[in-house]
């Protein structure tokens, strides 16, 4: 990542490490505001990514980093020989559960439905893994523990009965939300909030504004596809800028 950044700097990129808090996409030059400072550009590429969805529990926030995690590849290492719960039923939940069996003694996948949404091959791999068991039709009502995770309190969605599952770690893998709130009033987004882009293109509903990476991709969401679409956006922005030049000079 550092190398990409250094290369971009070498080719003249200026970096402003800050969160944009307002945009104006009505017409070029488009405006981006950071803490009251205004930046204007003839083209704009949006690549704000997606954020892992959380359960929304107070206890989850309190125990984040004390056994609650949203990143198995980052944190699996800390749970060697421990019992874990993974919440979710899609590909990423199943992938995380499978990955975590490298460290954990037992991984319980907690899913609110009675079957996985994950692809067949991923699901079959999980079913065949002796370290993974399943709690179907169950949602997490609370994470129990003081200073560290001791259990998750589950509610059976069919019977409404509560039960505690003793675990030392909880990995939340219930999906991602695109970071598109800033743009939703000004760009076409789909029902889930992903910025809509043209076929085989990163163009958005506003000419000169392009979107790349996870903020416009609910299908692949991989580093390489994000980087690939980033390259597409750069080329498309370059073409757009070149096409604007004659009018700008008039």
């Amino acid at each position: 990542m550092t190398k990409f950044r250094e290369q971009a700097a070498r080719f003249g990129a200026d970096f402003v490490t800050a969160d944009a808090d307002r945009v104006d996409l009505a017409s070029a030059p488009f405006g981006v505001w950071v803490d009251g400072t205004e930046y204007r550009g003839e083209a704009l590429i949006i690549s704000t990514g997606a954020t892992a969805r959380m359960l929304g529990l107070e206890s989850e926030q309190r125990l984040l980093g004390h056994g609650v995690s949203t990143c198995a590849t980052c944190d699996g290492f800390f749970f060697r020989g421990k019992r874990l719960a993974v919440v979710g039923g899609g590909d990423s939940a199943v992938e995380e559960a499978t990955f975590l069996t490298k460290f954990a003694t037992q991984v319980t996948l907690v899913h609110r439905r009675d079957e996985l949404r994950a692809s067949k091959i991923m699901a079959e791999r999980a079913y065949a893994n002796p370290k993974i068991d399943f709690r179907w039709n169950a949602v997490v009502d609370d994470v129990v523990g003081n200073g560290r995770v001791e259990a998750v309190r589950l509610r059976d969605t069919l019977t409404d009965e509560h039960s505690d599952l003793a675990v030392e770690g909880v990995f939340v893998a219930i999906g991602h939300d695109p970071n598109s709130a800033l743009f939703r009033q000004q760009l076409d987004c789909d029902d889930a909030g992903y910025i809509v882009t043209g076929a085989d293109s990163t163009s958005t509903s506003v000419e000169g504004v392009f979107a790349a990476g996870d903020v416009q991709d609910h299908v692949y969401r991989q580093a390489i596809t994000a980087a690939g679409s980033g390259c597409m956006a750069a080329i498309e922005a370059e073409h757009w800028l070149a096409a604007q030049e004659p009018t700008a000079r008039q």
Binding site: M1, A18, D19, G65, H66, S69, C74, R148
Partner: protein, 138 residues
Amino acid sequence: MRVEAAAFPPSRLGGDRPGNLTKGVGVSDHIVALTDSTFDETISGADKPVLVDFWAEWCGPCKMIAPVLEEIASENGGKLQIAKLNVDDNPNVAMRYNVMSIPTLLVFKPGESAQEARRLVGAKGKAQLLQELAEFVA
């Protein structure tokens, strides 16, 4: 897959300067690398708060915040020392402070290594980080 930090040039950690991570030499102009054996003396000998970034080579979000920390370090170096600790190579300190998620940032006040003054978990943007670190960089 686990990747050995030593397999990569130090420039991956911010800055082009040669720096030997395991020996605790500066990772960049503004950031020092700590180890299990240098941690205590660094914290107890500090004359300003020290922010320790617990990270590992296989942690994507850790890489995302690296340039942010580099900027914060270069802009606030007079008030806050920023340090990095590789949890793969230095498991003892990470265990002692119950670090179970990375990136975790612990801020220690000078001399107070028994207990961190602030714990921040997960990758955050610069604005949010600065807000949560306000009392140390004010």
